[in-house]
């Protein structure tokens, strides 16, 4: 070819048997830097592009992965034993997390919707010399104020009416022979109360905002109070006399479970009660809220009712669903997570142990690689990559098995399996991290070995 004769003498091709075009091109390529280098003092004068081209392919990520894969794959039996610890660790982690999520979903489904949609708002009380005293006040327009809060469906409030020992009766008869009985309680209520308490009208109707605004003399009777007063139907417009004033009975209610005392009460519209009996304040507001609105309502209701002194109003938000049950679940989870961590630790130690063993076994290989030009960094990278691959394999298998167990348990218990897929991926990657950590010490040991000592090791 065009190479000068002298050059050919100094650097003839090493492989004259293979004069392929490619080989020739390669030969020219590698000849170029050498001829430049051959000039004295020009060692560093090799064109940057050539140096870059030569060093660019020096044990890149692709080579690293290929070598690590070979190293991992050369002993399948041992690989299996090595990854068992990681598989168990990651697997139990996924199972624990998956079953916890599934069970939580299950609890949410069984969740008592009725119990979790009630909020009771009361003025705060303080204990003073004269007993308990309310420090706050529920305003009359409580329905408007609370109704504007997001998540509130129904609002109603009530307060006791002091009738000052007056009689409550259906007929005005003074019969000295009859032992005087305690009159049924008289309660003032806002129009929304029945809905807020999810009560039921047995007959007739509940009063509305119109009755309230006009202060109509109407009452609604609790079911037991109606029986006591001998009123069973309202179509003939019976009346109840309170303090000798007649009030038309327009309805009878039942099923007011949250305030069962209402069953024994005569309920007046708030406006009527204020007009006739000077009601001082409301004692309690009942709110029916959307599921999950508890925290919001609990926070905003006092502000809505007493903007200047929200601390004087207390809102009793429904307790978090099955708090006790969840607490137990949490304990169980903690135990299983601890077990998973232990399994993972054991898995990591297993990887460390086997990698250390394989470093010792492969001394000859390490020495050879060093002799072939591998730097200590290359050796560290390779052993780290191998243990990381082992860890990742264990993580992937463990995560897959864990998902399978969660699904199987859910099928057996007829549950809906709920599992955050991101979490599963994180668990699998945790296996990789375990492998990396476990491989760090053996890899450093491998790299610290002197090439000569390594070469004197086991023959290949």
């Amino acid at each position: 070819m065009s190479a000068p004769a002298g050059q050919r003498t100094r650097r003839p091709g090493l492989l004259p048997g293979t004069r392929t075009a490619l080989g020739r091109a390669a030969g020219r390529l590698r000849r170029l830097p050498r001829s430049v280098r051959a000039a004295p003092g020009a060692v560093r004068g090799v064109p940057a592009s050539v140096r870059a081209a030569l060093s660019g392919d020096r044990f890149g990520p692709r080579d690293l992965l290929a070598e690590a894969a070979h190293g991992v794959g050369s002993r399948p039996g041992r690989l299996l034993l090595t990854i068992i610890g990681t598989v168990l660790g990651i697997g139990s982690l996924v199972v624990t997390l998956g079953l916890a999520q599934t069970a939580a979903g299950q609890i949410a489904q069984q969740f008592d919707a009725a119990a979790s949609t009630r909020v009771v708002v009361e003025p705060s009380t303080s204990r003073g010399q004269g007993g308990e005293r309310a420090t706050g006040r529920i305003p009359w327009d409580v329905e408007d104020r609370l109704g504007r809060i997001a998540g509130v469906d129904q609002v109603g409030a009530l307060g006791a009416v002091d009738i000052g020992g007056a009689r409550v009766a259906t007929v005005l008869v003074n019969d000295p022979s009859v032992t005087p009985t305690t009159p049924p309680a008289v309660v003032a209520a806002t129009p929304g109360l029945l809905d807020a308490l999810s009560g039921r009208v047995v007959t007739g109707r509940w009063f509305d905002a119109g009755h309230d605004a006009r202060a109509d003399r109407v009452v609604v009777l609790g079911a037991r109070a109606a029986t006591r007063l001998g009123i069973h139907r309202v179509d003939r417009q019976p009346a109840v006399l309170i303090d000798e004033r007649p009030y038309t009975v327009i309805g009878i209610v039942d099923d007011v479970a949250r305030r069962s005392d209402l069953l024994d009460a005569v309920v007046l519209p708030l406006g009527t009660a204020r007009a006739d009996f000077r009601v001082a304040s409301l004692e309690q507001a009942h709110v029916r809220i959307a599921v999950g609105a508890g925290p919001v309502v609990g926070e905003q209701a006092p502000l809505a009712l007493a903007p200047n002194a929200p601390e004087t109003i207390q809102a009793q938000v429904p307790p978090p669903p099955s708090a006790v049950r969840e607490g137990v679940q949490g304990d169980v989870n903690a135990i299983f997570l601890a077990l998973a961590a232990v399994a993972l630790l054991v898995g990591g130690l297993g990887i460390a142990n086997v990698t250390l063993l394989s470093v010792r076994e492969r001394m000859g290989e390490i020495g050879l690689r060093r002799a072939l030009g591998a730097t200590t960094r290359h050796i560290v990278q390779q052993f780290l990559a191998e243990s990381a691959v082992i860890g990742l394999l264990g993580g992937l298998i463990g995560a897959a098995l864990g998902v399978g167990v969660v699904v199987a348990v859910s099928v057996a218990r007829a549950w809906t399996p709920i599992l955050d897929t991101g979490l599963v991926v994180v668990c699998a990657l945790l296996g990789l991290v375990t492998g990396l950590l476990a491989g760090a010490y053996p890899a450093l040991r491998a790299a610290r070995t002197e090439p000569i000592a390594a070469l004197r090791g086991t023959p290949g």
Binding site: R30, A371, G373, A374, I452
Partner: protein, 241 residues
């Protein structure tokens, strides 16, 4: 380049103004101990491009130490080692690894082939660390294997090969990166006489093609193939006529 050169590769006039491949100047290597062991006590050696040098000596004479220093696997206690014009004394470990991968080919007595990797993979291994462009690695490995006559065993694993075949693969691995010098440490130590002869013939061919060889041996048959013989004893070198 189109035809293999047949002229002897003894130092040519051109080599006179070109730096020698290997130049040792008053090289010493002392191993700490009580008393310290002086493995090399002031060694001077110049190997020109195309030389075929054998280093002979009894065991314990410092042969292996010399080879390790030549191969950049060990550092001298004192003295200079210039490899192809590059003084290696001040080089970092990383640069030494780089030089080792690019300019030195090793052939070991015990072959040092990876038992779980195919013949082709074993040869490719040398290209990983020496900066051979990825696109040409396979071509060069195949060419090197053909050069040593092992093309028919590409997918075999080393344990099923005979000793001679293994050493041929090792030689292919050593030359695939086109090193400046091939260092062989008792290359026939584990081989019977016929396999030895085959490997030595291969060395002769490589030498004819221009490769610089340094063979360390205690076997006179091996050293007889070299064009230049150096004897080492008690850490001192002398030229054998």
């Amino acid at each position: 380049m189109t035809a293999p050169t047949t002229e002897p590769a003894a130092p040519t006039p051109a080599a006179a103004h070109e730096p020698p491949v290997i130049e040792l100047r008053d090289l010493r290597r002392t191993f700490p101990g009580e008393p310290p062991v002086e493995a090399l006590r002031g060694v001077d050696l110049t190997v020109h491009r195309g030389d075929y040098v054998s280093v002979v000596g009894p065991s314990g004479s410092g042969k292996s130490t010399l080879l390790h220093i030549l191969g950049l696997l060990d550092r001298p206690t004192a003295g200079d080692y210039v490899l192809d014009g590059v003084p290696t004394r001040e080089l970092s470990e990383q640069d030494r690894s780089r030089l080792r991968g690019g300019r030195i080919g090793f052939v070991f007595q015990s072959f040092h082939l990876l038992p779980h990797r195919s013949v082709l993979d074993n040869v490719l291994l040398a290209t990983l660390y020496s900066g051979v462009p990825r696109a040409t690695r396979r071509t060069r490995a195949l060419a090197a294997l053909e050069r040593v006559g092992m093309s028919h065993r590409l997918d075999f694993l080393p344990p099923v090969l005979s000793g001679g075949e293994r050493q041929r693969v090792a030689v292919a691995r050593a030359v695939v990166t086109s090193p400046d010098v091939l260092l062989a440490d008792e290359p026939t130590g584990n081989l019977d006489s016929s396999n030895s002869a085959g490997v030595l013939d291969l060395f002769d061919e490589l030498h004819r093609d221009g490769l610089t060889l340094v063979v360390i041996t205690h076997d006179d048959v091996v050293s007889a193939h070299a064009r230049r013989r150096v004897r080492i004893s008690d850490g001192l070198l002398d030229e054998v006529a």
